[in-house]
């Protein structure tokens, strides 16, 4: 249900913010430059530029949905949260001879993540004790219990009663409302009911917000981010986890490029090399690197060497194919022109084929970096001592969802940074790309 609500809100935000933004940020919706003169833009892809207001609203919307559906302290509009605090309900017990007696149950609902919080003095939070209540009169006595938010409690009301269930005391009404086993009653604070065997139950209302275990609030994740940098997790700070992962990627990628590019050139330049490597490349290329992990672990163990070998293999085939297509992409007229200008074979390679293949090699490098980054995390999930993937998988075993989310965000940001960096490098090194 909550999922559908999120989806509906998201779609509404997409269209609603368009209508609103169009009124407020008029300039962002104006066509710029030459596009201003185009009367036809629908279907003309070149006339479409990303509306940056939309990008900002998009990110803000995701953030707001995150706040709105978690128990965040950030002052933004939020959806009804889970019930927290004390509530009471009455039950009516009836004996076999028909005598009835009412008693009150006080339920104290506390934060489910109380143990993960700290007070001002840095002491971890503790579960509260039940409220103090008087027993009251009659054979049914008043009860007091605690239950965590999002929890469920079977209330053994007979524990302090004078007549136990075994001796014929049954619950016939809750809050004065007649009830049979298996039935439920909704109240503001949650759901009351009887089990099939007739024992009262209480489930505090959950509202629309997610429990910390499923989705921690943004500020919780941020605090975890700070904590991970300061204290670290599994013996390494976040920056060290990141550094290890990045180091593996860079080393594996560089080795893959160093070996792959010359092989790719050789395959593009000599029939022997093409014949030799073709079956190997064609066989290895479709194998996902993850499928090699078990073998790599058997051969190289779970240390650095295994990771680097795996990433080397992930990058190798991509770089071979990129370099090879770089060679086949050289216009024959360029090669002919260079030969008739007196170039030797070596000069053809270094002055014509290598520079001409740079755009293809860069495209390959971008793909390879992306694949390597994805593979390293997956490889660390399987087996590692340190690394972002290792951090995530260990955190998942202790249900530390905030660490998992920090890890995911860091992985995403670094992957994005790699892509942006590669593009910048590309624009700097091969300015002629796409302009010929």
């Amino acid at each position: 249900m909550t999922g559908l609500l999120v989806l509906a809100l998201y779609v509404a935000a997409f269209f609603g913010s368009f209508v609103i933004a169009k009124q407020i940020f008029k300039s962002a919706f104006e066509k710029k430059g030459f596009n201003k003169l185009k009367t036809v833009t629908f279907g003309d892809e070149s006339a479409i530029t990303a509306n940056r207001v939309a990008s900002v609203v998009s990110v803000v919307t995701v953030f707001w949905l995150w706040v709105a559906f978690t128990n965040s302290t950030i002052p933004l509009p939020k959806f009804p949260g889970p019930f927290s605090g004390d509530m009471t309900f009455t039950y009516t017990a009836q004996l076999e001879d028909g005598t009835q007696d009412d008693a009150t149950v006080t339920m104290r609902v506390y934060r489910e993540d109380i143990q993960q919080t700290v007070d001002e003095e840095g002491n971890p939070g503790r579960e509260p004790s039940p409220a103090e209540v008087e027993l009251g009169d009659g054979f049914a006595k008043n009860d007091s219990l605690t239950v965590a938010r999002y929890g469920f409690k079977v209330v053994n009301v007979w524990k302090n009663d004078e007549v136990s269930k075994k001796d014929g005391s049954t619950i016939v009404a809750i809050n004065g409302q007649p009830i049979k086993p298996g039935e439920k009653i909704s109240v503001d604070e949650g759901t009351l009911g009887l089990t099939d065997k007739g024992t009262p139950t209480f489930a505090p209302a959950t509202g629309f917000r997610m429990a910390r275990l499923y989705l921690p609030a943004p500020e919780v994740v941020f605090q975890r981010f700070i904590w991970l940098n300061k204290e670290g997790y599994q013996g390494f700070t976040l920056i060290e986890h990141t550094r290890y992962s990045l180091q593996r990627v860079l080393l594996g990628f560089l080795l893959g490029a160093l070996v792959g590019v010359p092989i790719g050139y050789a395959m593009g330049l000599t029939g022997w090399a093409r014949g030799w490597f073709d079956p190997i490349v064609e066989f290895m290329r479709p194998i996902p690197p993850l499928a090699l992990i078990p073998l790599i672990i058997i051969w190289f163990g779970i240390g650095e060497v295994g990771k680097v070998v795996l990433l080397f293999l992930a990058a190798l085939w991509i770089m071979i194919i990129a370099a090879r297509s770089g060679v086949s992409g050289v216009a024959i007229s360029k090669v002919h022109a260079a030969y008739s200008l007196g170039a030797s074979k070596w000069q053809i390679l270094s002055k014509v084929i290598v520079p001409n293949s740079l755009p293809d090699i860069f495209t390959g490098a971008r793909v390879a970096m992306g694949v390597c980054w994805g593979t390293v995390v997956a490889a660390e999930l399987v087996a590692a001592n340190v690394g972002l993937g290792k951090m995530i998988v260990t955190a998942s075993k202790f249900q530390l969802t905030d660490i998992i989310i920090v890890g995911i965000i860091v992985i995403g940001v670094i992957g994005f940074a790699i892509e942006v960096g590669m593009r910048a490098l590309e624009n700097w090194l091969i300015p002629w790309k796409g302009k010929v």
Partner: protein, 278 residues
């Protein structure tokens, strides 16, 4: 054979000696791209080659350049048999043969660079050539920043920087618009006269062949062969003059019609034969 001209300067001669070219097809058949082509091209001649598609003119140029070996016959330049590409025979291609990763000046000095000539030594020549083709202000520009016409000017300068004996042009102006093309035609004529190079120019345009060809070769297809040869006055008239004036010459329109009809008939014949076999 290398011989001395009347003025006593050593000049080069290009001899195309009974060239035949047969391509075998995978289905067992073959294509006779060229059959018994013999030409003797004197030093400093400007020869344009015209013909319908499939007449083997590009194949002929590739053989002269040394990119293809003929199945029969041989090419001799200065009495030496051609076995492969060499800086003696410079090429100018249609487009896209410049090196985008180098600026204009580096493209032009590519030939001297390959020979190991130092930049200091080649500088004067490169600067001069850039001036000749009118690109002295563009030497630091990247290739992709230039218009199509300017790119072809770079290609001409790059070829000349190597000081080749023969310049082979494979539809160098084919991708240019009409106005730029006319300017470039004048440039080619001026360069021809100034440098005295032997030039073989392949073109699809009858007008261009007429204006630029001191000798004009019409080739016929299946098998590729020399159909007819003209000696024309227009190239000499065009040097340093307005080419539109040359087109007013009394023989110009007549020759153009004659060649157009010749090629038209060849195309018709090809079409007819294709329909028969189909």
């Amino acid at each position: 054979m290398s011989h001395l001209s009347e003025k006593g300067i050593q000049v080069s001669e290009l001899l195309i000696d009974n060239i035949s070219m047969r391509f075998d097809l995978p289905d067992g058949g073959h294509v006779q791209a060229l059959k018994n082509v013999t030409l003797d091209i004197k030093s400093g001649e400007l020869m344009s080659v015209l013909g319908p598609s499939g007449c083997g003119k590009t194949t002929l140029l590739n053989i002269v350049a040394g990119f293809l070996a003929p199945t029969e016959g041989q090419i001799k330049l200065n009495n030496e048999v051609v076995t492969g590409p060499s800086p003696q025979r410079g090429m100018v291609f249609q487009q896209g043969a410049l090196f985008e990763w180098m600026n204009v000046r580096d493209n032009v000095s590519f030939g001297p660079d390959m020979k190991g000539v130092s930049r200091a030594e080649s500088k004067e020549k490169v600067e001069h050539l850039l001036e000749v083709v009118g690109l002295q202000d563009f030497k630091e520009k990247a290739i992709y920043e230039l218009s199509g016409g300017m790119q072809q000017r770079v290609a001409l300068a790059r070829c000349l920087a190597n000081d080749p004996d023969v310049i082979l042009m494979d539809e160098p102006l084919g991708a240019l618009d009409a106005l730029t093309r006319e300017k470039m035609q004048s440039l080619v004529l001026d360069l021809w006269k100034d440098t005295g190079k032997t030039i073989i120019l392949i073109t699809h345009s009858v007008e261009e062949a007429l204006l630029l060809g001191e000798r004009l070769l019409v080739m016929a297809p299946r098998p590729g062969r020399v159909h007819k040869e003209y000696r024309l006055p227009f190239a000499d008239l065009g040097v340093g003059n307005d080419l539109r004036e040359v087109k007013k010459h009394k023989d110009y329109a007549g020759t153009r019609e004659e060649i157009l009809e010749m090629i038209w008939n060849m195309e018709e014949e090809i079409m007819g034969r294709t329909e028969e076999s189909a």
